[in-house]
């Protein structure tokens, strides 16, 4: 049976969904630094689809590729705890300020270095930038087809992947030849939990930079167990045009950013008593809001 080389694109994101009281500044805007960093939710759905392919086609490998600051290595470890074989951290100051085009350029150049991939799986959308553009743009830059909003990989047969897509107003089943990029929808199955054996096995996995900064007593382990080394690639490790990276490689520029201020309106407070509800309804009918 054929085995596949699967790359999962995953991003570490601030948890914009849980803006707790401690992340609110006095003026009602959020303090982005106070949000915890998490595995982008739909990238976990993507990882699950990858792991399912690996389950069905033994010998397949799942590698997580993430571009971000050093601490993004956390999501590579998180992926390994759930069954990924390893990951690559793409990190360099030159990537800072990238829009989606510069991001997908850097990611696609890293993929060209990986070279013999079969299936690239991304999440549909990241919850911070919220654009859902990186997956399709990576596909275009690699010159391979894309299939977006995938909910389920149904089968792989004769070099083609069969997938169910979830669209706004329906579902579609498509087939697409390998290699391809698929983006996985949040409506796809959740990712399996961490596996305790894998957690024990991989919890010391580190990038070179992390290793240099830690007082690891067991350095020899990293020679004996290659899977503990998370490759860390900078611009020097991939073939890139500097001008295509970061701010200079980004056609879109953020001109201004405004924080959304949550301020309470002067709301009328009403109880659920008959009197209060009747009074409210009378008011709404009188103002022709209803009726």
């Amino acid at each position: 049976m054929k085995a596949y080389k699967i790359i999962v694109l995953a991003k570490q994101v601030p948890d914009t969904r849980n803006v707790g009281k401690d992340a609110m500044k006095a003026d009602g805007t959020i303090n982005r630094a106070a949000l915890s960093a998490i595995f982008n939710p739909e990238d976990l759905n993507a990882l699950e689809q990858a792991l399912r392919i690996k389950d069905s086609f033994p010998g397949s490998t799942v590698t997580i590729l993430t571009m971000g600051p050093g601490r993004a290595a956390e999501i590579i470890r998180e992926g390994m705890f759930r069954g990924a074989d390893g990951g690559i951290l793409l990190t360099d100051r030159a990537f800072a300020g990238s829009d989606t085009l510069a991001t997908s350029y850097a990611i696609s150049q890293a993929l060209k270095k990986v070279k013999d991939y079969d299936i690239i799986i991304a999440g549909r959308q990241a919850i911070d930038g919220d654009t859902a553009q990186v997956g399709p743009q990576v596909a275009e830059k690699l010159g391979i087809p894309q299939v977006t909003y995938v909910e389920e990989v149904q089968k792989i047969e004769k070099g083609k992947v069969f997938m169910k897509r979830r669209l706004e107003r329906g579902v579609e089943t498509v087939s697409c030849p390998i290699p391809l990029v698929m983006t996985v929808n949040g409506s796809a199955p959740d990712c399996r939990a961490r596996n305790s054996k894998l957690l024990m096995k991989c919890k010391h996995a580190k990038t070179v930079t992390e290793l240099q900064n830690s007082n690891e007593d067991y350095l020899h382990l990293y020679n004996d167990r290659p899977y503990l080394n998370i490759p860390e690639w900078t611009v020097n490790d991939i073939e890139v045009e500097q001008a295509e990276l970061g701010l200079s490689g980004s056609p879109t520029k953020v001109k201004t950013v405004e924080n959304v201020v949550l301020q309470a309106k002067d709301a009328k407070i009403i109880s659920s008593s008959d009197n209060d509800i009747d009074e409210l309804m009378r008011e709404l009918i009188e103002s022709h809001t209803i009726g």
């Binding site: 919850i127 399709p136 069969f162 498509v174 001109k255 201004t256 949550l262 309470a264 309106k265 709301a267």
Partner: protein
């Protein structure tokens, strides 16, 4: 040349709502810039479709009509648009932030190396001074969009690359016919010149589209239920109230996820945006992603057991109480006091 372009989506042989809205916006941008408005329609059996399009003030309608171009598929549509844009060099290109537009837009923008701004809520023309280059840019498209889960609003510009591309969700812009007899011209593209065999490698095996039955965007009153409704059965209270008031029922994502109601009723960032005369939020906490789809409603009533629920901060009336008690009382009062 250097016109404003709109990608016209086709649904059941008709121009999609979102495209009609974008043509309306495109017309006003073109007026301000003193250029023309063009549209591209890609699909099959499109005879006469241009007549539906001219009234929005479209000067040239480009049509690519071929059996293989419907239903939508990424690669052939991308190839046509990329080539056409290379020929026509539009300064602005707009697409719906729909399943189709968000699949197509990024691929096209990557091929053309033009920036793309996702999910804009407002598009206006403005100037920009770049301090570093000491250079002034005139008449750029300000693409205004929420990001960070709706916690910030960014204004994005695209100073140097063309077209300036943006996607906009359905319901965000208003649609308006400028002139039912507007005179535009039709250009039929020779499809074979724009696509290659390799564009058809992705095969659509089965397609099941549900006709959208609910039209929440047009409803003057939306009664939305959240996870706090507690069950599918309790949602009946919402349908009852909607029936007596003449409204539609909407929902939060948590209610959709819990199976209380179908996805097509979801309101919010990943659902529809509504701005009715009256919005009644029942058992909805009011997370930012939900508020993104309803906070422009003229009047908002929140019914929630939690006096501190975030939804209350956008509400005009806060009813602190249980939906199971409050809703029947509202229905009862209304029935007794109107004919």
């Amino acid at each position: 040349m250097n016109n404003v372009f709109v990608y016209c989506e086709i649904e059941d042989g008709q121009v999609a709502e979102v495209s009609q809205e974008l043509m309306t916006k495109g017309r006003s941008l073109a007026n301000e810039l003193g250029c023309q408005l063009d549209a591209i329609v890609i699909g099959s059996e499109l005879d006469g479709i241009e007549k539906e399009i001219y009234p929005y003030g479209v000067d040239t309608v480009f049509i690519a009509d071929d059996k293989r171009l419907y239903p939508y598929s990424t690669l052939p549509h991308t190839s046509i648009i990329v080539k056409l844009f290379q020929e026509q060099k539009p300064q602005i290109a707009l697409m719906g932030a729909s399943s189709i537009g968000r699949d197509l837009g990024p691929r096209v923008s990557s091929a053309l190396h033009s920036g793309l701004t996702a999910d804009c809520t407002s598009l206006i023309i403005g100037d920009h001074f770049d301090k570093k280059q000491d250079k002034n840019y005139e008449n750029l498209l300000y693409q205004i969009r929420p990001a960070f889960g709706g916690n910030i609003i960014a204004t994005i510009i695209n100073p140097d690359c063309r077209p300036q591309m943006a996607t906009v969700r359905e319901g965000v812009m208003k649609k308006e016919v400028v002139d039912p007899k507007y005179k535009g011209k039709l250009v039929k593209l020779e499809v074979a010149k724009y696509v290659s065999e390799a564009d058809f490698v992705v095969e659509i095996i089965e397609r099941h589209m549900e006709k959208s039955k609910v039209n929440m965007k047009a409803a003057p009153i939306v009664i939305a239920g959240g996870y706090g409704m507690g069950s599918k059965e309790n949602f009946q209270l919402l349908y009852d109230l909607a029936e007596v008031l003449g409204g539609e029922v909407g929902a939060s994502r948590a209610a959709v996820d819990a199976g209380y109601v179908d996805h097509e009723r979801q309101i919010g960032q990943t659902g529809v945006t509504v701005r009715p005369k009256l919005y009644i939020a029942c058992g909805i906490s009011g997370q930012i992603q939900h508020r993104a789809g309803m906070e422009e409603s003229a009047q908002i009533i929140a019914i929630n057991t939690d006096p501190e629920a975030p939804i209350n901060s956008v509400a005009d009336y806060v009813i602190t109480g249980d939906v199971a008690t409050v809703l029947p009382k509202m229905i009862k009062y209304y029935k007794q006091n109107t004919k």
